[in-house]
Subunit: 166 residues, 2 copies
DNA sequence: CTAGGAGCTGGAGTGCACTCCAGCGCAAGC
DNA sequence: GCTTGCGCTGGAGTGCACTCCAGCTCCTAG
């Protein structure tokens, strides 16, 4: 499966340049979103046909994936834009761009930890229901204090919380 | 450190019932959000003083933590409400509630995996910058195809991507 | 008893990230 | 050559989750 020569790629884009529909399908971003991102300055590298239709070369595709990663991990659109505005790949900007990414990295890690904690909370709650059902008990939230405490204790003893904490 | 007797708790709430400000500080939810959640039916178990001020017994606090976990893990407010509307702790509703939580659990796991992937993408990008800086190279996004491919290859060879993939 | 701060309510306002639409042009199959 | 459909643009609209506000009451310290 020989990759088309680089000359060919830059000179006369082969079928590796995708139309907006294909990109939408490949990335999961809606067509409207792709257009909107571009207007908002999040997507450089998008080319046009003579007729004005968008064409996405592989580099644009890769870029979109990065933008998706940043957006999904909670970076606001405005911040992604600032990241992108940080120059056309000049060496001088690399440290700053890297710093931004590292900051984002840290946030992702934090978010990851939080998610895991929250997952533990939800799992613990599921365990509570399992107990209640097993014992044929009513109540749970607006339940008497003793029961809650009882169950919390049960869970702790069973290691439910601890096991799932991380 | 003897916990106040259960009778005492239910009969004459001691200082373990918190005011809205304390709850806000403890949970990180804004006062407005606490009031709004309550209006929206996400927070049962909140009591009132004679003067109409909110009082949060420990059970309410615990409930808030669950709601927070659900919200932070991406459950829409409307869904949290539906979960809560599912009856006042009657046994019959437990399976349904549990099912909802299990569904949420699955989504959290999916989100976790996605986050980890996205983290890998960002880290890979950081590695790219590190390479570029180390070699004193410009360009990066709008860079020539060769360079990207070169770097991608480098990263793969260096195991940067693979190491971080999971 | 009074002054200042915290809380209350209902409702309006905000910010973000899309999403939809009208009105148009290009393009390809019949 | 004409229809059918995709794509384009600028701008308006939407949904969600808060956030702010006016105008009031309540509570506490002096």
């Amino acid at each position: 499966m020989p990759r088309p020569s680089l000359a060919a790629v830059t000179a006369a884009p082969p079928e590796t340049t995708l139309g907006i529909r294909q990109v939408s399908e490949e990335t999961g971003l809606s067509i409207d979103t792709l257009r909107w991102y571009e207007r908002e300055g999040l997507l450089p590298l998008v080319e046009r046909t003579a007729g004005g239709q968008r064409r996405y070369p592989p580099a644009a595709l890769r870029f979109i994936r990065l933008v998706q990663a940043l957006r999904r991990t909670g970076m606001p659109v405005a911040d992604v834009r600032r990241f992108i505005e940080l120059g056309g790949g000049e060496l001088a900007n690399h440290p700053e761009r890297m710093a931004l990414l590292e900051q984002q990295c840290a946030q992702i890690e934090q978010r990851l930890a939080e998610l895991q904690d929250d997952l533990a909370v939800v799992r613990a709650k599921i365990a509570t229901y399992r107990h209640l059902i097993a014992r044929g008990l009513d109540c749970e939230d607006d339940l008497s204090e003793e029961l809650v405490d009882q169950l919390r204790t049960d869970e702790l003893l069973a290691g439910t919380l601890l096991d799932l904490q991380r």
